[in-house]
């Protein structure tokens, strides 16, 4: 790890190396860069209450690379609005200079060279430092730490311990409440067992008992912080039993249930709440719509869609805060409460530059402790990549292409399907691919890689269905993930069209022939939501492929074309 001083030197050195090949303006800015922990945490302290938000950590305990999307389309009313602004447009919108630390943290622009300059982000020991500093500055009694969920899943260690490593680490941070999504993929019994022992509340206003259609979870909780009554309503991912296996949580029903949120807002106000917070895993567009329809929410701490926005989006007097993913950011929201209501705010999306923010020693040793039994496995090198490997974006990323290629060859199929998850870390050109890196892209409780036949029509139906989950004009019908990734087949998509009309030009890449709706194709894939799906786990499939093909070289995917 770099010290701060070394970090500054590294930045300077890199800019010198890049030399005349780069646009002069930003290499000079880079050379002037000298980040400090104090600068990263800087905010004009405001009011008496501070909300600290972290979400979608996906079990990433250690610093990592995570490339933000280069394509993140918004449909209908939200076209061109954050978070559907990427790359250079994002930099322009938020007045961020290219090549700066913020540009690196928030966009995909020049990702590889900036990653080499500014290093990895995240790490729960650095997150701990930031949270402790905020609590020390503001007073712990004036702070609420809220975890938006997708915390217990996404790494090898979380998967083998069924979330225990993350639960141990998060408990040490002492959150005040959390909600969830992938947590539920550990099944009813495990979730229930963990929640029964959590030293804080797991809130889920929208989780109902299936049998009696009654609320199954604590919906909201009142806290007294900063001398004010603060109500926190929890909202789990509404489509958990659809996007993930329903059979793992047969007794629970979810849904958006906005009328329930409105009811809880009213209850909270009746009980004297001066501030109402929605701790949500709805996804950004769903929360933006919800905030426009449900009055009386002061702050929505949104999650699920992994967006990181440096400013709140304000809807119907509600601050919608998007805090990114993978431990790359911690949000600090200061609220000024006067006459029983929010009168002002200050916001800082704190980027966790792991080479700038010093690790908290206690947390660092706790992380080492939970990882110790698995370290030998985690460090095992499976291969090497010559190009950037990443997943995030609406369509195939290079890590998806690696998985699809492995599926096609190892399962001897014509077409591969791989889920459009938004989690999964990035690897820079020249990096080893370790066992840990691979599992960061596929650690889950239903990893079976099936092999079967499907007609061309069924393949089209699947693409149309997933396309509509992503691009439906009404956010309440969106499920959040990205488009299903495809190997061995190309297609054209027009996101603005309706279901049934978005997908065209489906082509079998091996032969260049058009996909015939009536013909059968051998298809492989993983992460089926159906019970009793058979096949080897996806990580074994990719590991076996890497054993035979240890050097990965994948150009950016050209087989998905955007129309319209």
């Amino acid at each position: 790890m770099f010290s701060r001083r070394e970090f500054l030197m590294a930045a300077t050195a890199t800019s010198a190396l890049l030399g005349s090949g780069m646009a002069g303006s930003w290499s000079r800015l880079m050379a002037q860069q000298s980040l400090t922990e104090d600068q990263l945490l800087a905010i004009e302290p405001t009011g008496q209450l501070t909300l600290i938000h972290i979400t979608d950590i996906h079990a990433q305990l250690k610093p990592l690379y995570f490339r933000e999307p280069s394509i993140n389309l918004g449909i209908g009313d939200v076209n061109g609005k954050p978070p559907h602004v990427t790359g250079a447009d994002f930099l322009k919108l938020y007045n961020i200079q290219p090549g700066t630390p913020d540009a690196y943290a928030l966009t995909s622009e020049d990702f590889v060279s900036l990653a080499r300059t500014y290093g990895k982000m995240g790490g729960m020991d650095r997150v701990a430092t930031v949270i402790k500093r905020i609590r020390a500055e503001r007073g712990a009694d004036n702070c609420l730490l809220l975890d938006g969920g997708d915390t217990w899943q996404g790494s090898y260690t979380s998967n083998v311990t069924r979330g225990e490593d993350m639960i141990t680490v998060m408990n040490a941070l002492e959150p005040d409440a959390m909600t969830g999504h992938w947590e539920f993929t550990y099944g009813t019994d495990r979730v229930q067992e963990v929640i029964d022992n959590l030293p804080f509340s797991f809130l889920g206003s929208n989780i109902y008992d299936n049998e009696w259609d009654e609320p199954a979870f604590e919906a909201w909780k009142m806290f007294e912080r900063g001398g004010a009554k603060v109500a926190v309503i929890g909202q789990a991912f509404p489509y958990t039993p659809i996007a993930n296996p329903r059979w793992m949580i047969p007794g629970w029903s979810f849904g958006i249930r906005e009328e329930d949120i409105a009811k809880h807002v009213a209850e909270a106000r009746d009980e004297g709440a001066e501030v109402v917070v929605l701790l949500s895993h709805n996804g950004f567009d769903v929360d933006r719509k919800l905030a426009s329809r449900v009055d009386g929410i002061d702050v929505v701490l949104t999650g699920h869609t992994h967006d990181a926005l440096p400013e709140p989006v304000i809807v119907n007097d509600t601050l919608v805060i998007a805090s990114g993913s993978n431990g790359k950011f911690v949000s600090r929201v200061d609220l000024d409460i006067r006459d029983g209501k929010v009168a002002g705010y200050a916001y800082r999306l704190i980027p966790i530059f792991s080479d700038v923010i010093s690790p908290d020693a206690d947390m660092a040793s706790l992380i080492d402790e939970v990882r110790a039994p698995y370290e030998a496995d985690l460090a095992r090198v499976l291969g090497k990549t010559e190009n950037l490997l990443y997943r995030r974006g609406n369509f195939n990323g290079t890590f998806d292409d690696l998985i699809c290629q492995a599926l096609l060859e190892e399962r001897d199929a014509q077409i591969a399907l791989s889920p459009g998850f938004r989690w999964g870390t990035s690897l820079l050109p020249g990096q080893d691919i370790t066992f840990e890196d691979l599992h960061n892209a596929c650690a889950m409780t239903y990893p079976a890689a099936y092999r079967s036949t499907m007609t061309g029509q069924m393949l089209k139906d699947i693409l149309e269905d997933v396309g509509d989950n992503l691009f439906n004009k009404d956010p309440y019908y969106q499920q959040g993930g990205d488009m299903v990734r495809v190997g061995g087949m190309g297609y054209t998509i027009d996101p603005d069209k309706d279901i049934g009309e978005r997908i065209s030009g489906m082509t079998l890449l091996a032969t260049g022939e058009a996909i015939d709706p009536a013909k059968d194709y051998v298809v492989t894939g993983w992460a089926s939501v159906n019970e009793a799906t058979e096949g080897p786990p996806i990580d074994e499939v990719v590991e076996s492929y890497l054993l035979k093909n240890p050097v990965v070289k994948l150009p950016d995917n050209q087989s998905v074309k955007l129309a319209g």
Binding site: Y239, I242, G255, P419, M454, I462, A527, S528, N530
Partner: protein
């Protein structure tokens, strides 16, 4: 390894399987739904509002979709809801249920679970004791599922 398409396909909703794998199954024509509404209202076009449906935006299981209906009415001897018709316009047979009430019912609320063969509108039509009729309509999506997150 041999698995059936149905198992592997990732169909969350069994009802969607009906759509995907029995294309010969015939679905209700829109006329059939309109005819059922007219028969219920005595030919009148029902007014929007007063009756409201509570349905999920996306069904978790197309085989058993919870549907709630409530009608804003004082439910007095002079002013009450007589009946509420529930229709699903994309099912082979659009008729789902008719709930009957009297002033003694106290409230015109009902809940049931219905099967939806595919993405379609669920429709509730309420008839008051004075013969006036009201309608609400909600689209419920039946999806293949998976791949989110």
């Amino acid at each position: 390894m041999i698995i059936t398409r149905r198992q592997m396909f990732g169909l969350t909703a069994g009802a969607a399987a009906v759509l995907a794998f029995n294309p010969q199954l015939s679905f209700a024509a829109p006329d059939e739904t309109e005819a059922a509404i007219k028969a219920f209202t005595g030919g009148a076009t029902p007014t929007e509002g007063t009756v409201s449906l509570d349905t999920p935006e996306i069904a978790e299981n197309g085989n058993t979709v919870p549907v709630g209906v409530s009608v804003d009415s004082p439910m007095t001897a002079d002013n009450f809801v007589e009946s509420v018709l529930i229709l699903a316009d994309g099912n082979p047979n659009p008729a789902v249920a008719t709930f009957h009430f009297t002033a003694m019912s106290g409230a015109a609320d009902a809940k049931t679970r219905i099967r939806l063969a595919k993405t379609q509108n669920v429709i509730a039509v309420a008839k008051m004791n004075d013969g006036s009729t009201f309608i609400d309509r909600k689209e419920v999506k039946v999806t293949i599922g998976g791949c989110g997150g």
